[in-house]
């Protein structure tokens, strides 16, 4: 095969420079930090792989990792089916299409720290709308600053509220791209609603759903701001997910070496899960 369009590589250079400065160079610095100890003043002491070894055997890290996987698992299990269901229920024609789309896009427009603050106020037991309703009208004992279960339900509800829209919009885009001919053929064959969903809509949504699951996995696995503002990782350590623990180690304790080692392990997990998932989903496409 004759090489062609090799000049196109030069057009990629600006992106390469951008990625180098915002990702590659910081990443290399993190790798350097992860094998050293520092007390500030730009003084570093060689530590080898000690931080990694300690971290891999630390109960605190295992607990944070477990909570992180639990959180991501729960929100994926809720957001993906819910998002698909809402997308299926949305109108395909008429004025209501734009109304629905705008309504759906609204939660995603709100900055992450504002979402955290909103839900914090919303769930306060004495003055928050939800908190007051649960405690004083329904008589449920709900206080997310005291009960780990209430805190978990709140962070899950918040994430579902904030990000299900993304799944909805992506699934909807997949749905409207299905030509009418498929539905007509299904009608002629007398296919049930379930059969239409299973053999027409779901396969056609596969690509966008793959992207939706990947984005939701990565975002929820790296979630920080909303939970930091809402619970601060509490009560106790019950909502201290990986990123919150990482910031506690890096900025609270100023242990830059262990924090760098933890970031790298964190990165390796995100990379492996994303790669595995993408590869398995796209396996039959090529």
């Amino acid at each position: 095969m004759k090489p062609s369009y090799q000049k196109a590589w030069f057009f990629v250079l600006p992106v390469l420079v951008l990625v180098a400065f915002n990702a590659l160079i910081p990443m290399m610095t993190v790798v350097n930090y992860s094998v050293q100890e520092t007390f500030g003043n730009n003084l570093f002491f060689w530590q080898g792989v000690d931080w990694f070894e300690k971290l891999l055997n630390s109960d605190r890290f295992h607990a944070a990792l477990g909570r992180q996987f639990l959180f991501t698992g729960i929100i994926l299990a809720i957001e993906i089916p819910l998002g698909v269901a809402i997308a299926l229920a949305m109108p395909r024609k008429g004025v209501w299409v734009s109304v629905c789309l705008v309504l759906m896009a609204l939660p995603m427009l709100i900055p992450w720290n504002v979402v955290g603050a909103m839900w914090n106020i919303f769930t306060l037991p004495d003055i928050g709308l939800l908190g007051y309703f649960l405690n004083h009208v329904l008589g449920v004992d709900y206080n997310m600053t005291q009960s780990p279960l209430a805190a978990w339900m709140t962070i899950v509800a918040m994430d579902v509220w904030h990000w299900t829209s993304l799944v909805v919009l992506l699934s909807y885009a997949g749905l409207v791209s299905i030509p009418d001919a498929y539905y007509q053929a299904a009608k002629i064959d007398g296919a049930s609603n379930w059969a239409v969903f299973r053999y027409i809509q779901l396969p056609k949504m596969k690509r966008v759903l793959t992207i939706a699951i990947l984005l939701r996995f990565m975002d929820s696995f790296n979630i920080y701001t909303e939970i930091f503002v809402l619970t601060g990782g509490g009560p106790g350590n019950s909502t201290t997910l990986l990123s919150i623990d990482l910031v506690k180690i890096a900025l609270g304790q100023f242990d830059l070496g262990p924090a760098a080692a933890m970031s790298l392990i964190y990165f390796a997990i995100t990379l492996l899960v994303s790669w595995l998932f993408y590869t398995l989903m796209m396996r039959n496409e090529t």
Partner: protein, 92 residues
């Protein structure tokens, strides 16, 4: 100028190796375009770049697993990683 990056020789060596490998792949790609695509033993269609990625990611996990279970030093996992890399380029 680079003191803030806190370079050490071992970490520099790792990056030199990775970037050299990418450089070699670039030269190979220019000489033989198409990425030598094939379907390997894992049932995945991979190019040379994919195989390098699989080797590196696998090596990371081999080292981490050894460190977590057996602890330092890391010469044995380094050997396993090299074997894994060879396997990845040969069969995957």
């Amino acid at each position: 100028m680079l003191s803030w990056m806190a370079w050490t020789w071992p970490t520099a060596l790792i990056f030199i190796c990775i970037f050299s490998a990418m450089g070699v792949l670039t030269v190979l790609e220019i000489r033989h375009p198409g990425g030598d695509e094939r379907k390997g033993v894992l049932g995945l269609v991979t190019t040379r770049g994919d195989r390098l990625f699989i080797s590196l990611l696998g090596s990371v996990y081999i080292h981490l697993a050894w460190l977590g279970i057996m602890g330092a030093p890391l010469w044995i996992p380094l050997g396993i990683s090299i074997l894994w890399g060879a396997f990845a380029f040969w069969k995957v």
